[in-house]
Symmetry: C2
Subunit: 119 residues, 2 copies
C-alpha cells in the first residue's frame, strides 16, 4: 500500500504543536523541562525538592509534559525517573522559525510594494 510516499498526514502542522506550546506555557513546567535538560534524568522527589508545591502537583505537571511528548519516564526500583524527550520541542522550535521566516518574507513584499507604488 502506501499510496503517497511522503507528507500524507501533515496538512496543518499548527495542530500538532499547539499542545506542546500549551504544555510549555507554565512557569513550573518550563522549569521542569529545563531541569531535566541540564540535570539529566531525575525522580519526582528530586524534582519536587526546591519547589514550593507538593509532590502530587509535580506529578500532575509531569503528566501534562508527558502527554505533550516532551518527557519520558522509566521505572527504576521504587523510583520513577523522568528524562527529556527532544523531538516535540524541536518540532515546536521549527514551527517558530517557520513563522518568523514567513513574516520576514511578507515584510519584504510590503517594502517592495511601498517603494514601487508610493501613491
Amino acid at each position: 500500500m502506501s499510496p503517497r510516499r511522503r507528507a500524507a498526514a501533515k496538512p496543518k502542522p499548527l495542530q500538532n504543536c499547539a499542545p506542546v506550546f500549551a504544555a510549555l506555557g507554565d512557569e513550573i513546567r518550563l522549569t521542569l523541562v529545563a531541569a531535566l535538560c541540564m540535570g539529566g534524568a531525575m525522580s519526582i522527589t528530586q524534582l519536587t525538592s526546591g519547589t514550593e508545591i507538593s509532590r502530587q502537583a509535580i506529578t500532575k505537571h509531569l503528566g501534562v509534559l508527558s502527554a505533550a511528548g516532551l518527557v519520558r519516564d522509566v521505572k527504576v526500583g521504587r523510583e520513577r525517573l523522568w528524562e527529556f524527550e527532544p523531538v516535540q520541542l524541536d518540532e515546536a522550535r521549527r514551527m517558530l522559525e517557520l513563522i518568523g521566516r514567513h513574516w520576514d518574507h511578507d515584510l519584504a513584499k510590503l517594502k517592495f510594494a511601498m517603494e514601487n507604488n508610493p501613491s
Copy 2:
C-alpha cells in the same frame, strides 16, 4: 552605575516567555498568528471570516495574544487592524534553542562518561 556590563536583569528568562508559550498553546491563536504573519495586518472581521467561532471569541483571543506581546493593533477608521509583532516570538524561539542546546551538551557529557567509564 551599571555594575555589570551585560545580563544584569535576566537571571531567569523562563519567567519571561512562559506567558508567550501559553498564548501560543491554542490552535486558534496559533492560526491567528500564522494568518497575521503571512497575510499582513487584518481586521477582526477579516480574521473571523473562515472560522467557526464568533467575532467576540476572536477578539478575546487577540486580547490574549496582545497581552503576551505577540500582536499589536492600530485603529484605522472604524476598523481595528491587527499585525504581528515578532519580538516575543523570537525570544521564545531562542529559549527553545537554548534548551535544546543544553540537552545536546548534556547528552555529549553522558556519552563521554559511558565511553570512558563503562563499568
